[in-house]
């Protein structure tokens, strides 16, 4: 139980670090002076000390929605697969629970965008609804096919099974599920081919448009929510699709987990530098590819047993 709480604390602590790390790797690759990797913590403390201003048009929703955005993600963080051996984990969580909790958070984020009564907020909300409606079926299919491969519908138990005895005959469908989940990781966290997190240009922004009105404490909540979402997705990705290192002794297992996270971060930074942002109406093509691969992984597993 102590290990479980400590790993949760670790995940919470490294959440802003990962996003800042992506940014500094990107700046390094673009021959700019890289920003500090602790910039996320600095922004958080700066936003906490700032004054909070609310729009006159906003209702009570603006005051409660940031908490409602953050809390499902915190609950999901309690349910992520174990990262060290012998840690406590909750095994009744299946694909639907995780997807549902994440989309609950997205739902309140969309309400928050609508509530400010600015046209940007409504636009961002409609775009977010458009993207997440396409991402959810693919995510359910992917997680479901992986948990079928690992002989358990619970995600945490499935990752433990995978780490203990990886089924080598299923690696083809495993690969398809991995491709699908990586696309979802990019899409749900608003990274570059889908959404650019660094710009405030009205033509392109999705996530930033919804939180344009927020200030101070509420903005800090939303920023930490997006960092936690990234941590949830990347830790799900590494514990499902790079399943080794769970049996190592505690420091080594933690080191292996952090290295795997670093791998995901570098992969996303390389992708962001090399790929242009997609036009909004091209995004369904990418997510359609994710759906095709998720379905392909399921059908390959069922029909061919491969």
């Amino acid at each position: 139980m102590t290990t479980y709480l400590l790993t949760l604390l670790l995940l919470l602590l490294i959440a802003p670090l990962l996003l800042s790390l992506i940014k500094s790797i990107k700046m390094f690759l673009l021959f700019k002076q890289p920003s500090s990797i602790f910039q996320g913590y600095r922004n958080f403390s700066k936003l906490l000390s700032k004054e909070t201003i609310l729009s006159y048009e906003s209702s009570v929703m603006t005051r409660v929605a940031p908490f409602l955005v953050l809390s499902p993600l915190l609950v999901t963080l309690l349910l992520v697969p174990p990262i060290v051996k012998g840690a406590f984990y909750i095994d009744f969580v299946d694909a639907f629970t995780i997807t549902g909790l994440i989309s609950l958070s997205t739902f309140f984020l969309m309400l928050l965008g609508l509530d400010g009564a600015s046209s940007f907020g409504g636009m961002g909300s409609s775009r977010e609804a458009f993207i997440s409606a396409l991402a959810e079926p693919a995510m359910i299919l992917t997680l479901f096919s992986v948990s079928l491969m690992a002989n358990n519908l619970g995600i945490s138990q499935a990752t433990v099974n995978l780490a203990q005895s990886f089924p080598p005959e299923h690696i083809a469908s495993f690969l398809f599920a991995g491709i699908s989940f990586f696309i979802l990781l990019v899409a749900e966290n608003g990274r570059i081919p889908v959404d650019n997190p660094e710009t405030h240009l009205e033509l392109t922004m999705v996530h930033e448009a919804m939180i344009l009105d927020l200030t101070g404490f509420y903005l800090a909540l939303i920023e930490s929510a997006s960092a936690i979402k990234f941590v949830i997705f990347s830790s799900l990705f590494v514990s499902i699709f790079i399943p080794f290192g769970l049996d190592y002794p505690l420091p080594l297992a933690l080191l292996a987990f952090l290295l795997k996270l670093l791998l995901v971060v570098v992969a996303i930074a390389l992708l962001e530098v090399n790929v242009a942002k997609l036009r909004l109406f091209k995004v369904p093509n990418l997510l359609g590819l994710a759906i095709v691969f998720a379905f392909l992984s399921l059908i390959t597993f069922y029909v061919l047993g491969a």
Binding site: E169, I171, I299
Partner: protein
């Protein structure tokens, strides 16, 4: 495990190439497709102790994954072909069509799989890739993607030959390569004649 992984990359790169709208990306996915095929042939040859298949695999890696994409890129630059190749089948339709094809062909090849024995599901993957590369040929009107569709169809036939038969005679494989070379030459002649 290795074979399954390579087959997975083979099918994945073919499916991604169905959705791509740029010619150079199409060439890149074709090169990845051929690379996985070549490694597959080398691996199979090493397992079966069949030197002919190893040689065929090495030729595949050199020719199909490096030679032909480079050659096609040169031609594209030289003849100034259209590089934005939009599929004629809308992508939202192909999202439905591709899984339908996969399910259909997986069940279609079930009788073959029952009579085959060990390498059964590779045959199913090869047949479904055949249909997918046919779709790649169908969905484009420009000539360059059609060539790539043709070449990936040849890849799937090679895959079928490697996995289903357990070692083709090397003469036949070299004959296939020679056919391919002739096809490329003819295609180049066509391209030079009629600059589409």
């Amino acid at each position: 495990m290795m074979i399954n992984f390579l087959i997975g990359i083979f099918l994945a790169s073919l499916i991604i190439s169905l959705f791509s709208t740029r010619l150079y990306k199409l060439l890149f996915w074709y090169a990845l497709n051929s690379l996985s095929l070549g490694f597959l042939a080398i691996y199979f040859g090493a397992n079966l102790d069949d030197n002919g298949m190893i040689i065929a695999g090495i030729i595949t890696v050199l020719m199909k994954s490096i030679g032909i994409p480079y050659f096609l890129k040169q031609i594209t630059v030289k003849l100034q072909l259209v590089r934005q190749v939009q599929p004629n089948i809308k992508i939202q339709h192909s999202i439905l069509l591709v899984p339908a094809i996969l399910v259909f062909t997986f069940y279609l090849s079930e009788p073959i799989m029952q009579s085959m024995g060990q390498n059964a599901h590779y045959v199913a993957v090869a047949i479904s890739s055949l249909f997918l590369s046919l779709m790649l040929m169908m969905e484009h009107t420009n000539i360059a993607p059609k060539i790539i569709g043709f070449l990936s169809m040849e890849n799937t036939l090679f895959l079928l030959g490697v996995t289903a038969t357990g070692g083709m005679p090397m003469l036949i494989e070299l004959g296939i390569f020679f056919d391919l070379l002739m096809a490329i030459v003819i295609v180049t002649l066509l391209l030079n004649r009629k600059e589409i």
